[in-house]
C-alpha cells in the first residue's frame, strides 16, 4: 500500500501541472510571454508611418541632365553574409547606394522606389509596403510611403508617383533605369513577392512598366538588371523597345549586387555622352568588386540592343518553344545553361553586340568553364 501510494505520489509530481512543478511552469510562461512581447515590439516598431513626409528644402531651377529610376525589391529573402560572417539585407544596401547616387549628382532627377515586405501593426493593421524617395539636384525633395497593391498593373503606384513628380525639361535628359531584386521570371511569376504569393510578376510586367515610363519621351539610355539569370534572349527582347543598352547577369548574381559607384558621378562618367562606354565601365567595376570575395560564378553582360537584334530574331522561335514546354510542365524547376552549351541556341550572330565579363565558380561542376557566351537559356526538357 505504501509502495502504491509512493508510486502515485511520484506520478503526481511528474505531472507538468503538479504543485512541485508549478513555479517552473509559471517562470517558463513568464519568460516566454516576455519573449513574445519583445518580438511583438520589435516586429511592429511603432504605428503606421505617415503616407507623406515633408522634406525641408526647395526645388532648384537647375535643369536635370539625367533621370535615374531605381526599383529595389525587398519583399523576399534578401539576407546575405560577407566573408567575415556579417549579415546584410541586400535591399537595404541597394537603397543606401541609390541614395548616395541621388545625393552626389547635382544635375540629376532621381526616383527611388523601395518595395518592402508588408508588415502589420499589432498583427492586424497593415502598414505601407512601399517607400518612395524623390531627389532633384542632389537634394531630397519628397519621401512618401505607398501601397504596392493599389492599381491594375504591377507598377501603377510607382508610375503614379513618377508622373506626379517628374519635371519635363526643355532638352531631353539621359535616362537610366535600375532594378534590384531576385531573378525576374519569364513565365508564371507567382510567389515573387513574399507578401503577395498569388500575385504574378514576370519580365513582361517590367517591360509594360518601362513602356509606360517612356510613353511620352524617348527610350531609356541604359537599363540595369541587378538580378540573377536575366541575361537571356527573351528578357533582352522584351526590354529592347524601351532602352538602347542593357547590363544584366546571365548567371547567378551575388546579392551584394552591381557596384553603383560609377553612377555617383554621372557628369564625369558621361562627359563625352558615350553611354555604351559608361555601361562597360560600370560592368567592369562591378565585376572587379565581385571577384574580390565571391567564390560562385560571376558573369556580367553589356548588350547593345540594336546590334543583338539579329541573334534575338534567329533564336526567338526555339526559345519561345522551350518556354511554352516548360510552362506546360509547371512542376518542373527551370534550369538554365549557357546558350552556347545547347546546340539549339547556337547561332553565328551570338557574340555580336555583346560584351561579356566572366569568371567561373571557384568550386563546383562548372569550375573549369573557360568562357561564357553572355546569354543564358532554359535547358530544353529531354
Amino acid at each position: 500500500m505504501e509502495r502504491a501510494f509512493s508510486t502515485f505520489a511520484r506520478q503526481r509530481s511528474d505531472h507538468p501541472f503538479s504543485r512541485e512543478r508549478q513555479p517552473y511552469f509559471l517562470n517558463a510562461l513568464r519568460a516566454y510571454s516576455c519573449l513574445a512581447l519583445c518580438f511583438l515590439i520589435c516586429s511592429c516598431g511603432g504605428p503606421p508611418p505617415a503616407s507623406r513626409e515633408t522634406v525641408p528644402g526647395e526645388s532648384s531651377e537647375f535643369p536635370s541632365n539625367y533621370v535615374v529610376v531605381f526599383i529595389i525589391h525587398g519583399d523576399a529573402g534578401y539576407q546575405f553574409h560577407d566573408t567575415e560572417g556579417n549579415a546584410y539585407r541586400a535591399d537595404e544596401e541597394a537603397l543606401a547606394a541609390a541614395q548616395r547616387v541621388a545625393e552626389q549628382n547635382s544635375e540629376a532627377e532621381v526616383f527611388i522606389f523601395h518595395e518592402k515586405h508588408r508588415r502589420h501593426f499589432l498583427f492586424l493593421f497593415p502598414r505601407h509596403d512601399g517607400k518612395f524617395y524623390y531627389y532633384r539636384n542632389g537634394r531630397l525633395l519628397a519621401r512618401e510611403s505607398y501601397w504596392r497593391d493599389h492599381g491594375q498593373s504591377r507598377f501603377d503606384p510607382e508610375l503614379g508617383l513618377y508622373n506626379r513628380f517628374h519635371r519635363e525639361e526643355e532638352h531631353e535628359p539621359m535616362k537610366f533605369f535600375l532594378y534590384f531584386g531576385h531573378e525576374i521570371p519569364e513565365i508564371d511569376g507567382k510567389g515573387y513577392d513574399a507578401s503577395y504569393r498569388s500575385r504574378s510578376f514576370t519580365i513582361n510586367d517590367l517591360a509594360y512598366g518601362l513602356e509606360r515610363l517612356t510613353c511620352d519621351s524617348s527610350a531609356f539610355d541604359l537599363v540595369v538588371l541587378s538580378t540573377c539569370f536575366n541575361g537571356t534572349p527573351h528578357t533582352v527582347s522584351a526590354l529592347a523597345p524601351y532602352t538602347r543598352y542593357i547590363v544584366a547577369s546571365p548567371s547567378n548574381l551575388h546579392l551584394s549586387y552591381f557596384d553603383l559607384r560609377p553612377f555617383e558621378a554621372l557628369d564625369i562618367g558621361l562627359s563625352d555622352g558615350d553611354v555604351y562606354a559608361f555601361a562597360e565601365d560600370f560592368a567592369r567595376q562591378s565585376f572587379d568588386r565581385l571577384i574580390e570575395d565571391i567564390q560562385t560564378e560571376i558573369a556580367i553582360s553589356v548588350y547593345d540592343v540594336d546590334r543583338v537584334r539579329k541573334f534575338l530574331y534567329s533564336v526567338n522561335s526555339v526559345y519561345d518553344h522551350a518556354l511554352s514546354t516548360l510552362k506546360e510542365n509547371a512542376s518542373t524547376l527551370i534550369e538554365y545553361c549557357d546558350c552556347a552549351e545547347d546546340s539549339a541556341y547556337v547561332r553565328p550572330a551570338m557574340s555580336e553586340g555583346i560584351d561579356v565579363l566572366f569568371r567561373p565558380a571557384r568550386f563546383g561542376r562548372s569550375a573549369h568553364k573557360q568562357n561564357h557566351s553572355g546569354w543564358e537559356c532554359p535547358k530544353l526538357p529531354k
Binding site: 511583438l40 529573402g77 546575405f80 549579415a87 546579392l255 560562385t296 524547376l333
Partner: protein
C-alpha cells in the same frame, strides 16, 4: 524530460510563429555562415573539414527528420529534396567523391565561403514554407 522538451518546442514554435519570425531562410543561411566563420577561425585542416562535414550532416539530418513529418506539404518535400541534393553535392566536393577532386587544405576557407554564397543564391529556387523552415531550425538547434 521528454515532456519538458515537447512543451519547450511547442511554446518556442508558437512564440516564433506569432512574433512573426518568418525569416527561416535567413536562419538557415546564418547557420552555414556561422560554420564558415568557425572554419576560418581554425588553423587545423582536419578540424576545418570536420566542422564543414558536421554542419552539412546536421542540416541533412534535420531535413530528413522534417521531410518525414506529416505536417510537411508535397511542395515542401520537393524543395527539401532539392536542398538535400545541393548539400550532398557540397559534401561530395569536400570529400572528393562522385567525380570531384577533394578540396585542397589551402582552399578550405574559400570553400566554406563558396557554400554560404551558393546557398544564398539558391535561396530563391529552394522555397520552403515558414512552418517547415521553423521545424528544420528547431531540429537543427536540438542537434547542435
Amino acid at each position: 524530460m521528454l515532456k519538458r522538451t515537447a512543451v519547450h518546442i511547442t511554446v518556442m514554435m508558437l512564440v516564433m510563429a506569432f512574433a512573426g519570425i518568418a525569416h527561416g531562410q535567413d536562419k538557415l543561411q546564418s547557420y552555414l555562415s556561422d560554420a564558415a566563420c568557425k572554419v576560418k577561425a581554425t588553423a587545423d585542416p582536419v578540424q576545418k573539414r570536420a566542422i564543414l562535414s558536421n554542419s552539412i550532416e546536421n542540416m541533412e539530418k534535420a531535413l530528413n527528420k522534417v521531410q518525414g513529418s506529416p505536417l510537411v506539404s508535397k511542395d515542401d518535400k520537393a524543395s527539401i529534396d532539392r536542398f538535400k541534393v545541393f548539400l550532398n553535392d557540397k559534401r561530395d566536393e569536400l570529400e572528393g567523391v562522385n567525380g570531384y577532386e577533394p578540396v585542397p587544405d589551402a582552399k578550405l576557407n574559400a570553400f566554406a565561403n563558396y557554400v554560404v554564397q551558393d546557398m544564398e543564391q539558391a535561396s530563391q529556387t529552394i522555397t520552403i514554407s515558414t512552418v517547415t523552415l521553423l521545424l528544420i531550425i528547431i531540429i537543427l538547434i536540438l542537434l547542435v
